[in-house]
Amino acid sequence: MKKVYVNEDWCLACHLCEYYCAAANSGAENMIKAFSGGKKPIPRIKVEEGSAINFAVQCRHCDEPACVKGCITGALSVKDGVISCDESRCVGCYTCVLSCPYGCIVISDESKVIQKCDLCIKNNNGDPACVKGCPNGAIVLEER
């Protein structure tokens, strides 16, 4: 399955992936609207910055997903290899936050339920927004 990978040699820590991700999944029609009025939608990708190395991390869509197995409500599920969350069923217990070895489950500021990368299959973005938005080709969608 094609997954999103980040090449840390080329990540510039510009954090644009976070913004493209947040905007794409905000339901707003564009980035300006997504962030209008001081709104700060939470991205499902997270840039880690080091002194020389930076990289972004997002869901690895594991073959044996601890988050899905541990989910107490059944909100997390796997379909065609893509792990996604039915946010209407999440109660915010964060067992998945506890379980994810990559720290890729994020908590919505507003609803307090969790959000996670679903490779943009649920929005109208086409290829994942982080991949399309990365200015340096550091984020790729590929088979490995």
């Binding site: 997954k3 990978y5 980040v6 090449n7 840390e8 997270k46 880690e48 910055e49 080091g50 190395i53 990289f55 991390v57 690895r60 601890a66 988050c67 197995k69 541990g70 107490i72 409500t73 059944g74 209407s88 069923r89 109660v91 915010g92 217990c93 964060y94 067992t95 998945c96 936050v97 506890l98 379980s99 994810c100 070895p101 990559y102 720290g103 890729c104 489950i105 994020v106 908590i107 490995r144």
Partner: protein, 412 residues
Amino acid sequence: MNRYVIIGNSAAAIGAIQGIRSADTEGSITVITDEPYHTYSRPLISYWLEGKVADENMYYRDKNFYTDNNVEVLYSRRAEKIGKSHVTLDGGEKLPFDKLLAATGSKPFVPPMKGLDKVKNSFTFMTWDSVKAIKKKVKKHTKVLIVGAGLIGLKAAEALYHLDADITVVDLADRILPSILDEDAGRIMQKHIESKGTKFILGTSVEEFSEKSAKLTNGDSVDFDLLIVAVGVRPNTELISQAGGKVDKGIITDDTQLTTLKNVYAAGDCTVSHDCSSDTDRILALLPNAFMQGEVAGKNMAGVEAHYVNAIPMNAIGFYGLHIITAGSYDGEAFTEQDAEKEVYKKLVFKDGLLKGYILMGDVARAGIYTSMIKERIPLADVDVELLKTRPQMMMFGRARRLEKLGGITQE
């Protein structure tokens, strides 16, 4: 064609069904449950009581789960006895099996307490039915006494808080949530809960109940309209022990979840697990644990070898909006950071060059990275400990490990 029988209808049972079906789409699966409900999530009962989760969201898997997986469910039936190749149901009916799973879970423990029989509105907090009964009795300002300041007692308290009940929690211990929090963290949580109006009476116990009042050992008495006893749970091990299977604190299994009985497996809260963080055998009554044990059991029942290892105690839970994530064992050298004002607490426990356990309160983001450190026994020598202490992050791993973990690339 294999005949699979599963006693129980919760996480371990569902895990087993998924495990069996990943390997065997043909065999027949029969589930025996003494409840009348489609599989539902027990941890959700407090949310249901609070009104946060509606009936239709109580279910652990969607409506078609059994049909889709070709499972027959015997609702409101009890398994009375396990034989060599059949289960005797209530009413004497015999259900033959080739492989059996005991996913019998646990039951509330109600210790003998003087005068308890006089209390009409006494409840435990374990099943959907129990909270349904509670809901009928609770109105605004209903006085509720909860015995037990553990996870169940406080989840019950939180739910009732949302129903504007007047809540008092009594516990023999001098702090709350002693099973998962240390004293400092417990204090922060206690303060937080108290700030919402819930009262604690700690270090004391009920000497004697009357119908609507409890006399405490410290001499005080507490009036109540409704009593919830939440002092603990006990695994349902009788079926196995009666059949001759080995039982200790819970049902004993090997790491394929096989009991000491041939063709009989067990999974979930009724079993004993090996906690790899403390290297001890104990009951890990946790939903993820139950599901994964069930899944391993299911695979083995269907003939695919699987092992359940790396189990650790872990909890992700929130009370009155303050979240905690904890995992592992707290036996070792501790690094702590706290800001009681902001209700933020962090404790990392190191031993033998490994991260053994942690408590995160308030800021729980990315806690799973710590969990993976414990489960995978990643040596501290391999990570940047300063970064580890700052916050959970992938940056603390070396480049090679990051490439492996994040990039799926293993370097020679």
